[in-house]
Subunit: 219 residues, 2 copies
DNA sequence: ATATATTTTTAGACATATCTAAATTTAAAT
DNA sequence: ATTTAAATTTAGATATGTCTAAAAATATAT
């Protein structure tokens, strides 16, 4: 159906879309795939011609519905095989990625679904990532409140409790937006304020504000 | 290590070498692989450069020790995966070939050996073909005496009990040679003589002679 | 033994996927 | 608003594996 190269690009774009809500650039993809930007451009044209991605030169790319379906299928296979390797063949959870990178490209719906049944329809792979079901439905990582996070945790800002203009204006002023990747650097025991790092800056967030922010676990 | 295409050629050449002892021609391979003779020539040059086959233009080809090792590894994987599909995933034995054709190219010694252990070190795949062990040792199809064969059986002449010059001259005269593919057409109940078919002719073999001929099962 | 047929190889083309280096577009900075 | 820098795309090259059509080698037949 699709080549391994095509599948790998779709998987990478899917991952980038879920890591942050910024639009996906050629360089982003090149970095993630350890290849050159010019190779990415070539492939994006090919994927766009097949209507798997929406691609505007110089303007970035995003998956179409069809492209996401393909990506999810590959991810489903990857995670099911990882589960098989760890639970049945007794591999350690940190040694299965490379092998799953190969197995994820085996083409057979029967195989994937039989494997799924054989494993007892697991919901998560050995790394804790959710396994899409046969219709491509992923149990999305539930958002958690920033107050519940620990130092070192990373998440993507994906919701607010307080959605008043005042609060949103405050976020604007602090240069925080939905989709931003946030890392918890420190939590001040004295007042429960949270010191965070974003892609561009560091800042301190009061307990009151933290209570109003929801983050999705980064995969 | 080797590309899928290379592995598929090695596997095909291995199979041809075991089907008959005639030297393997470009066309033989092209037919088995459903490709063109010119493509085969190209690949044979590549495999010869890597010392996986011995290739003399216009004169045919045969596997080197190294090439046979690679072929046996691929066959081992193919048969182990077939066993897995049938015994664990409940596929029917006649529906697993295509999937195994893909799985046989997954590269990981750890994976193959863990799978082997998980399956309980099976000796034969669901079609009855022997599974090479991790050192590439195949339990060769044991030779059976022609007298023990039934009508319809096929085998390759691979040994004689009587190795006197007189008997070998007799075989020469009858145009029978080691490596010849032989099919049992009829067995005469009256005198236990065997009517056989070879690639080029038909003939009747007396019970006395049949007793002195050993055949290897054709895979 | 020479003509004919078959097999095999070569030559040149194409598709996929990649790269380097140059050109172009967009973003940032003064 | 220009210049400078960074990101992106294009152009041209390479490697793999395949094909068609033509040339060369081998086998077959009279």
């Amino acid at each position: 159906m699709f080549t391994q190269a095509e599948e790998n690009y779709l998987k990478a774009i899917y991952a980038l879309e879920n890591e942050s809500s910024e639009s996906i650039s050629t360089n982003n993809i090149a970095l993630k795939m350890e290849t050159k930007a010019s190779s990415v451009t070539d492939m994006l044209k090919k994927l766009a011609a097949k209507k798997l991605v929406e691609y505007k030169p110089y303007k970035g790319v995003h998956l179409t519905f069809e492209g996401e379906k393909v990506a999810l299928k590959v991810i489903r296979k990857h995670r099911l095989w990882e589960y098989f390797l760890v639970k049945k063949l007794k591999f350690s959870w940190d040694s299965v990625h490379e092998i799953a990178e190969q197995l994820e490209h085996i083409q057979s719906d029967d195989l994937v679904n039989s494997l799924d049944a054989f494993l007892g329809f697991p919901k998560k792979d050995p790394h804790g990532d959710p396994i899409p079901d046969k219709d491509g439905i992923v149990v999305s990582n539930t958002s958690i409140n920033m107050l519940g996070m620990k130092v070192g945790d990373v998440g993507v800002l994906n919701g607010v409790k307080d959605s008043t203009d005042a609060f949103l204006r405050y976020l604007d002023k602090k240069n925080l937006a939905l989709g931003d990747r946030i890392k918890i650097i420190d939590i001040e025991p004295y007042d429960n304020s949270v010191y965070i790092e974003t892609k561009t800056h560091h800042m301190s967030i009061s307990k009151h504000v933290a209570k109003n922010l929801y983050l999705k676990n980064k995969k």
